[in-house]
């Protein structure tokens, strides 16, 4: 039981390109994986460091703009460097941005963190929108497709989906690994009682900054996937609406499992694409809101909570009581 389900699930994910249309593979599958990475960085910070950081999409944007500007695009200032150089440098920039955000936000708690990171997100979006020289303002940078590696055009639906799946799987595995490490334990200790941890000799601030830096890496990977998915990047992708979308995804998915945000992203992407077909296109936001409300009100900790509830029911029937 414990192994069969994950295996079946992996097979399902890997075989998606075999039985689904390119549209489902790319726009639903790959997009959910990219969005999920960004949401995972938020969800992980929420569960491990107790920090609701609304600036994770902005950090993702640092890496996205990094690849767009260092790599090739139709925007003149782009350097046109190969992806092997552009992507690592951009990820590094994303981690640095994450750490810088952490340096700012680590000394705040709860509501303060939300306000501070929201301010950072708004400032970043407005900067991107008003800067013409570096970011081409609201138009943004177009012509940023995924590169061709070893003869495989990664911008094609199936290769891009598999790339996204690999990146997402790596993020999930690392996040799960971190859970039981000293780093993970220290973070949760600091989350529950920062003063006690400090009294025990742990450097709470530094750990939090490191947590933001790691979340920055996860978000940056998502940011690069978003860039390649869209084939362009612009300030509108990092405005208030999308920032809240990431929070919605994290809440729908739940914070107790690393796969939660990806499930949340899948629900979000499905709604984004098909809600307009179910209710009229003019009212689909209302529909999204209603689904969100139902999920928040009817479940504890989103889809992840729903899953535990289900599994608990199944296992109890089999006479297993300790999860």
């Amino acid at each position: 039981m414990t192994l069969r389900l994950p295996l079946a699930f992996t097979a399902l994910l890997l075989s998606l390109p075999l039985w689904a249309s390119p549209f489902v593979v790319f726009q639903i599958g790959a997009q959910a994986l990219g969005l999920g990475c960004v949401a995972l960085s938020l969800s992980w910070l929420m569960s491990q460091a107790g920090a609701v950081s609304l600036a994770q999409l902005s950090v993702a944007g640092v890496a996205g703009y990094g690849v767009a500007l260092l790599g090739g695009s139709e925007f003149e200032p782009s350097r046109g460097w190969p992806w092997t150089v552009a992507v690592p440098l951009a990820l590094l920039a994303g981690v640095a941005a994450g750490a810088a955000l952490g340096w700012l936000a680590a000394r705040t708690e709860g509501l303060q963190t939300i306000m501070l990171t929201l301010a950072v997100a708004v400032a970043w979006a407005l900067f991107l929108q008003q800067n013409q020289v570096l970011t081409n303002g609201f138009n943004g940078i177009t012509g940023t497709r995924a590169p061709t590696v070893w003869g495989v055009d990664l911008s094609r639906p199936t290769p891009f989906y598999l790339l996204s799946l690999a990146v997402a799987a790596a993020c999930v595995l690392v996040v799960q690994r971190l859970y039981g490490t000293v780093f993970g334990l220290t973070l949760r200790g600091a989350r529950d009682d920062a003063r006690k941890m400090a009294a025990l000799g742990y450097q709470v601030q530094q750990h939090r900054i490191a947590a933001y830096a790691f979340a920055g890496l996860v978000a940056s990977l998502g940011g690069v996937l978003r860039l390649w998915f869209n084939g362009q990047i612009s300030s509108g992708s990092m405005a208030m609406g999308p920032v809240i979308d990431i929070l919605v995804i994290a809440v729908i998915g739940g914070t107790r499992y690393a796969w939660g945000p990806f499930a949340g992203a899948l629900v979000f992407v499905l709604l984004q694409n098909f809600a307009g077909d179910i209710v009229s296109a003019e009212r689909f936001r209302l529909f999204v809101g209603v689904v969100f409300l139902i999920l928040v009100l009817a479940t504890r900790d989103g889809l992840a909570g729903l899953w535990d509830h289900w599994r608990g029911g199944v296992l109890r029937q089999r006479g297993v009581h300790n999860l």
Partner: protein, 421 residues
Amino acid sequence: MQTFRLFNSLRIFMRRTGALATLAAVVGVGAVHAQEAVKIGVVATLEGPFAVLGQDAIRGAELAIAERGGKVAGRSIEMIKASSTGAPDTAVVASRKLIEQDKVQFVVGPLSGSEGIAVKEYAKSQPGVTFFATSGAQQTTMVTPAPNLFRFTTDGAQMIAGLGDAAFAKGFKRVVTVAEDYSYPYSQIQGFMLEYCKAGGRVIDKLWVPFGTKDYSGVVSRIPADADAILVALAGADAVNFLTQYEQAGGSTPLIGGSAMVDQGVLAAKGKRRDWVAGTPSAGPLADDLDTPEWKRFVSAYKTTFKDGFPSPSLFALFYYINTKALLDGLDTVKGEPGANHSSLRVALSSMELKTPTGLVRLDENRQAIADIFVTEVVKTGSGLATRLVKVIPRVNQTLGLSKDEFMKVGMATKTSPECR
């Protein structure tokens, strides 16, 4: 006990697969009745600051289809809507959904300038689909145009032709501009300034606000006291918010209206009456009181079809109508056979002389419209505010009468180009 357990696992199985089945049903819907109907995808801003404009745009497209009884060349027409927010990536996502999931062969839209530029790039990867752009950024057709993208409507700079001279003639020697910070308003300001600066006017400052701005107090306070007029090139909710706050702040400098500012989408907006806007000069692709049978027929069809519409069709209803009509007329010309990769349809479209409610439209070599533009003035009427025709500027092309070389010397419309302080 055994039965109960079986029943229960069945129930759980059903619950788990139920979601999948619904998904499969939704995903599969496209394939069932794909063969017969001509599928047209329409992308419009049904969310965000331009939501009201997006709704009217949809009305325009619906009108063009309804006019033919929902049929073209003997085949029925299926129109599928998708929504964007005004941000470029959302328009690409919406177009991709229409093309790859709903299998539409034609896309009309998107509405907003920078969305159009992003969709143009996406269009290049979809050679089997023909796009009908409705947004107003210059770059959409002027720079690296897509061979499968047609625009039977004018760009921001074309739309404002004649206003520079009209404003100068009205005695406005120094103006300040207020506009959203993206591609379409850049085109509008450039189109205005090319004429206005040549006539001798000065644009002493340009104030740019982010798309979707709600609070204009900062902008209003920065309007210089010695400006003769303010050129307001805002649209939708942005324009409504600006007008309301400008009046509340006691602003008394006269306005000059950008094409989307004096549009029914703004003038007929619910709320406080804005009679003080009367007298504002403007220019655009339509004049509400245009006295031609084509326009009158269009307005009356709009009014009878859409009881919940504006008192008179907005610019966006007109633009979506024109581009949808171009597609349908083109399909008629090729008798419903667009050819491999739509080659015959595209030839037909390129040489088409399209009859629109606002006059004949032809395309240039970049598949960009050459059309009449109307200099207007806002007036009070029985049903609210409307634009009254002052002058027709015939056959405005994308380089505004300059040669391509001369125009390129001025350069593409940006935030800082052109200048004449």
